[in-house]
Symmetry: C2
Subunit: 282 residues, 2 copies
């Protein structure tokens, strides 16, 4: 696997792939790779000739400095995992390489997709995400890019962004990968204490409960059931529970078998913020 730290050397490799008429699949990550990321690399490998993975902990998408400070880093382990998957290129730039003019974010017209959920709780988060993904797309020039469904709002925003920017990039997604007990794989899971880790599957359990009850119960009541279930665990604090249309991300007010609905949750377990989501009527 080639490892590039600069846009310049990355671009030379990309040009060489282009000259051979190879299609490029791209998996942007913040590292501390887990099975969720690996499923994206495997799909990219299946759907493209060459796979580029980026590892870049993007400072501008962290609204909380402690969260950035504590974000897990595991570059050596990551490289081993990627070599095992026969990933072709790793791009792991420094901050100054991605933000040569300082850590400024751009504003993108996101049609309100960034307003609630993560965007509501983490001001500026999606400006940071879009700025860095746009910059990475510009450097990698992939034919296809791969994102996890665990970051559900991010996926919707990236699909919109690609359309807004006229980019000829096919956005692919992979379902959330879970531990055996249902906890969604996340780099942040490493930050949980053993006793917190034991309690963490409650988030997925409450989503499954919501799915089971969806057809029968009023939406606001359903959200309250989920909130109460989560907060029955002393160490957990709800950040939000929302039920939205999965395309527009607008709140669904009434359960309707004809309209798609998707539940999204963010909760703190101790100091660690976890998110998860599930379709309610697929």
């Amino acid at each position: 696997m080639q490892v590039h730290k600069t846009v310049e050397s990355l671009k030379k490799s990309i040009s060489a792939l282009r000259e051979k008429n190879l299609t490029i699949g791209f998996v942007p990550t913040m590292g501390a790779l887990h099975e969720g990321h690996i499923s994206l690399v495997k799909l990219a490998k299946m759907k493209s000739d060459a796979v580029v993975v980026s590892i870049f902990v993007n400072p501008t998408q962290f609204n909380n400095p402690d969260d950035l400070e504590n974000y897990p880093i595991a570059l050596n382990d990551d490289i081993k995992l990627l070599e095992k998957e026969a990933s072709d290129i790793l791009f792991c730039p420094d901050v100054s390489e991605m933000y040569p003019e300082g850590m400024l974010t751009k504003k993108y017209p996101l049609n309100g997709l960034d307003k609630g959920l993560e965007g509501g709780k983490r001001p500026g988060h999606f400006d940071g995400v879009c700025t860095v993904v746009h910059q990475l797309f510009t450097s990698v020039t992939p034919d296809k890019a791969f994102f996890g469904e665990k970051d559900f709002q991010q996926l919707a925003i990236i699909k919109h962004l690609v359309k807004e920017l006229n980019l000829n990039i096919e956005i692919n997604s992979c379902p959330t990968i879970r531990d055996a007990d249902g906890l969604a794989k996340s780099s942040r899971n490493k930050l949980l204490s053993p006793s917190e880790r034991e309690k963490a599957p409650l988030i997925y359990k409450s989503l499954m409960k919501a799915k089971a009850l969806f057809a029968e119960i009023d939406i606001n009541e359903l959200k309250n059931i989920v909130k109460n279930e989560i907060e029955s665990c002393e160490e957990m604090t709800i950040d939000y529970v929302e039920i939205v249309n999965p395309e527009t991300l607008k709140s669904v007010e009434k359960s309707d078998v004809l309209e798609k609905a998707h539940i999204l949750i963010a909760a703190y377990l101790g100091n660690v913020r976890l998110i998860d989501n599930l379709p309610l009527n697929d």
Copy 2:
């Protein structure tokens, strides 16, 4: 000269140029070509291996339906002019080719550059300009693009747009080309009656007067002198006279030899709207 009506056939030609490693210069126009356009084609020819010119009267940048209706069309003459300049490709798509999903414009973050001047007087104009230029850039994928300084605000906005969109396109500009009596070349000049045409150079004369007086007179007084001069001609009506910083397009309140200042004017001569501009302290 190759003539393409569809994006698909254009793209095939562009790919063929790319395979030969030729650089592409692009001159977007609305047709009814005059010496101003030709100066852009000549510069493109000097600075690139192959020149693509587009002719597309973009409906979404016209806020006034009469203006769109009356906009001059001269495709056969245009083709002759471009062949004389040895332009390589002409792209002249139909509206349905450029707006396959209907005449929708996108919103671009323009940092306020679109707020005053033409943008203030022609609501939605720059959304239309940016949408079509972005679409053309996506289709042509030029290395360099060429715009006239007569559309001064447009030039500033396109420079900003290319940066916002991370496009690797060098924006070049050409000075305004004028008739011997000073009237800025414009496709709309064809719409002037002979007696109007005689009066039209007053716009340039008033700009030159402003330049001569700039160091001596208060800015608001200077704008009034220009307005009075223009409206001394019965057939002329001022749309705006503004003195701005040429980069930010923000109003300059005081004349200051150290700050660059640029005067922009829009005026109706009969029913024909004319614009012109001049640096005041270059």
